[in-house]
Amino acid sequence: MSSPYQTKVNCLPTYILIDTSSSMRPVEATLNETMEYLYDELIMSPRISDFAHISLISFNTQAHVVLEMTDIQQITALPQIECLGVTNFTEAFRVLRERIEQDVPMLDAAGRAVLRPVAFVLTDGQPTDIEGRITQNWREEYWRLVDPNWRRHPNVVPFGFGGATADVLKEMSTIDGAAFLAEDSGNSESLRKIFATLLNTLVASAQHNQLQLPAEVDGFIRVSQDIIE
């Protein structure tokens, strides 16, 4: 006897890309604290982590998957992040694309209906090459990532603070208006607000069973096509 209830449950592959370049060193402690906060909140609300499957990618000169897209129940330790190196977005986007190619089939094989992945990018600087010089070379890897012809292309939602600029964030965002630049609060405070926003986004998304992005983020300017620097 088959059950009419045996339907697939939606899940949202969620990537948090954290800039861990040397300019982030002043907020290193805050970064580690806020990750604990996010973990605490998610672990106490299993219905949110049922929906949003989270992976953490840190990037500086290179990019690393510091937390694989595993069930949050299975996490036994949180990464201790250290900030150094440059802001190499090319590597970040390359690793993200690789991971999506692995994670989406894994979730599908686990019987989930996989929604388009979302990548939240947290950065305090401008894209650089491996020598630390500001560059536009990241665009090539970025376009490969968000190429509409690639079935699994993610939504990218950037959050910037410190030295991040509106034009780069705007360019990285795949959804008009879903790019946020901190006004003038300190970087630590901005980071806390970003993580609180991330959490609220996941709560709302789980409630609606689809990605729900904030219309506004306290202390941040919403960067859209309508805003000209």
Partner: protein, 417 residues
């Protein structure tokens, strides 16, 4: 303890006479916000997003009054196990919301989290987890008898609403709390109940396959959703595979056979009318709760082993919810690029040509055979002791063979001589 029977409010309450306190929730479901009431400790004010008018006002007033019509046993349930609306709140003639009692303290618990101690409300979201995962959250692991008792309480509330002709529909992990000490359930948002059928509401992961959204939904939907909630809490299985686990309930303890049969009927019926009433489910659960043997057997679930892995950052902070201790990682030379975690275990995945970037994974769990020492910072799950293969170690076996061979040699030599 606040409850409908000790309501300090008239049936219709002026908003201006309420002092609003801390906001608990915003933009959840039908409410714009839910706030504590400074003027009435133990009560909350739920402000609606959309102003109720006409029949909606009548419905609210009828709901506020309804417990007056109940027999003492049912009134006891209303007071102890539901957040039943005590008054309709108006502001300059417009209905703005309702006042509801706060759940008794037994439905909350102080837990130790990484950021310190915090009191949380125990939503049944946390009951529908395996015991080991509850322990990791500093919540006592719930045995099968405990789960059955809580589910009996939950179904009892469902049965009460059904008897009253009230359609709730909004059964979910977030709308019921549970008490590990009292083994009881507490249902919130009762103000959303309708007298009789109303359009189906959207409730992701609780979708009734027989009653699509926007079609009329009656207690048949409540029967399905309560059954699904009970099934998830009993088996600690949250996904579509829950039905397979329900099928195995009777194998765990024969006292659960009637519960299993009713759950399967509720979840798999091809017509809503064939779903058993919540009164029957409640009675079966209550009977099972008293009939279960001591430990009540183990839940028929399996838990995946922790993910293994290694590196990429300077270290890992172990998660020990019971002591909130952090194992300070050993810091390694600060060179940008790939690094190894503690303990080192890396798996290269699709490295770029010439690249040695490791893929960073979860650190290796403690070796098998170790157990968690309170306060040691050792990661959560204890591992079963190592089982030695029968026959002992290879060294002991070799030594035994050597002795036997030597004895045989001596015997042969002594015979020859």
């Amino acid at each position: 303890m606040s409850s409908w029977s000790v309501s300090p409010f008239p049936p219709v309450q002026q908003l201006s006479e309420l002092t609003i306190g801390t906001t608990l929730h915003e933009n959840g479901g039908q409410s714009r916000r839910v706030t504590m009431l400074v003027s009435h400790p133990g009560w909350i004010y739920k402000e609606y997003r959309v102003e109720p008018v006409g029949p909606e006002i009548e419905r609210l007033d009828r709901l506020v009054h309804h417990p007056h019509t109940l027999v003492p046993a049912d009134l006891h349930l209303v007071n102890g196990n539901t957040s039943w609306p005590a008054t309709r709140v108006v502001d300059v003639g417009r209905t703005t919301g309702v006042c509801l009692p706060i759940a008794p303290p037994e439905f909350s618990r102080e837990v130790t989290m990484r950021a310190g101690k915090r009191t949380i409300t125990l939503q049944v979201d946390l009951l529908a987890l395996p015991g080991v995962d509850q322990l990791r959250r500093d919540i006592p692991g719930q045995s099968l008898p405990a789960r059955v008792a809580v589910c009996a309480s939950l179904a009892e509330v469902g049965a009460l609403l059904e008897r009253c002709g009230l359609v709730y529909l909004d059964w979910s992990f977030a709308n019921a709390f549970w008490s590990p000490a009292g083994l009881a359930a507490y249902v919130i948002d009762v103000d959303g109940c309708s007298f009789g059928a109303r359009p189906q509401i959207q409730s992701h992961n609780w979708d009734d396959p027989l009653v699509p959204q926007h079609t009329l939904a009656d207690n048949g939907v409540d029967r399905f959703r309560v059954a699904l909630l009970v099934a998830r809490c009993l088996t600690a299985q949250r996904g579509p595979g829950v039905i397979d686990h329900v099928r195995r309930l009777g194998d765990v303890d024969v006292a659960l056979t009637p519960v299993r049969d009713l759950l399967l009927r509720a979840l798999m019926a091809s017509r809503t009318g064939d779903r058993p009433s919540l009164t029957r489910l409640s009675a079966a659960l209550t009977s099972a709760a008293t009939g279960l043997s001591g430990d009540g057997g183990q839940l028929p679930f399996t838990t995946d082993p922790p993910a293994m892995g290694g590196s990429g950052v300077t270290g890992w902070r172990t998660i020990d919810r019971t002591k909130s201790r952090t194992t300070r990682p050993r810091r390694e030379p600060t060179v940008p690029g790939p690094r190894r975690l503690q303990p080192p275990r890396t798996t290269p995945v699709n490295p770029a040509p010439g690249s040695r970037t490791p893929v960073n994974r979860i650190p290796t769990p403690p070796p098998r055979g170790t157990e968690q020492v309170p306060g040691s910072g050792t990661v959560g799950r204890p591992f079963p002791p190592l089982v030695q293969p029968s026959g002992g170690s290879p060294v002991a076996t070799a030594f035994l063979i050597f002795i036997c061979a030597l004895a045989l040699l001596l015997f042969v030599v002594s015979v020859l001589l």
